[in-house]
Subunit: 213 residues, 2 copies
Amino acid sequence: MADTDDNLAIERADRPSSQRKITKILAAARAEFFGNGFSASSIEAIAARAGVSKVTIYSWFKSKENLFAEMVKGECAHLSQNFVDENLESKGVREVLIDTAENMLDFLTRDERVRFDRILAAEVSRDPRVGKYFLDNGPRALLQNLATLLQSAMDQGKMQSSDPIASAEMFVGLVKGHLDLLLRYGEKIDLTADQRRARAARAVDAWMLIHQK
Amino acid sequence: MADTDDNLAIERADRPSSQRKITKILAAARAEFFGNGFSASSIEAIAARAGVSKVTIYSWFKSKENLFAEMVKGECAHLSQNFVDENLESKGVREVLIDTAENMLDFLTRDERVRFDRILAAEVSRDPRVGKYFLDNGPRALLQNLATLLQSAMDQGKMQSSDPIASAEMFVGLVKGHLDLLLRYGEKIDLTADQRRARAARAVDAWMLIHQK
DNA sequence: ATAAAATTGAACGGTTACGTTCAATTAAAA
DNA sequence: TTTTAATTGAACGTAACCGTTCAATTTTAT
């Protein structure tokens, strides 16, 4: 990212009105970047949408690149909520896994995420740091959580694995299939609650079958 | 796409020199679009790279959008080679599946494909038809092939499935895991032949376990 | 109230790029 | 050879956009 250590944007914003404007700028940036990608979005349009002067944007964010990076940061924080169900005690193993898979599917099919995926991946060539930042704060952390959950599930159930991370990756693969691909290329997919649950259950059952003792 | 029925670019190219230039233009377009994405690439740069006048480009391709679409077409044809191994008779079931999985992994990790994925997905918002075109000529066809192969394998082996397409999707999911995600976001992954084979074998064994009678 | 910081609008210079026009040149077909 | 099509370079009009400067105005802290 442009600045991991020095958060230029937020630190200096003593004034509450400034804080408000920064928020509006980031929201406008999000909307523009999501709609047009990085290159095709203009600072002027972002300023107009935010109801803010162009100079104000440049005063808080040094450059277009920086604004984009800062927007990505916020989006990562917003998107990377954990969907791993951890109530292993109260529910049964299979139930917890299915709920987790359902959360994953819900997350995957969110239009917001799909568009974020598209524009962010496109900018990796321009600035590889945004890709790394996203991986570290998103998928990587989630896979670790998932591995931990699966390990616990294996301890409780009649399952085993030599490599929890590989098992977690299989879990992810079984749940996703090529759904993410279809979505990324514009396929409209809105699963009903039943469809989502059915798909989750199929993936979980397959996964459990693989990991049975 | 801009033109699925009337192939403006190729049809009218009687002259062999024109044919040559069209090829060079498409190659240059590929390089530029792959490097900078659609918006950040300029027709002028493409013309320069192709060693061709800008007017020539506009004479064969009506617009930048059209040039991009035409480039995508060519790339789809080039990338969508079938990697499904069909020698079920000569080799054993497991061997054929592993070879197929290996081919998939080889394809997935090709830098060319990764970059294509990035720029194409980014343009889906601008023109959804490119996404649909790609899906129809790439993944969709491949999944069908794979389903057919798996069905044959199931007939020969001690396996079964009620839904071949769903089984094929699981196969894909198991092989890919989240490798495609890592690659898309800039992770450098070059599997050795051994690693590739090991991963393919793991996926295949898991898949066979799921589908055992 | 006064001082300090933030914001604004407008304008500027410089750059880039799309797509078109045209007369001149080159290459190919008849 | 003649005729037809393709190609070129250069220029043009138009538009967009980045990032900066500046004087004027508004907002906030003290």
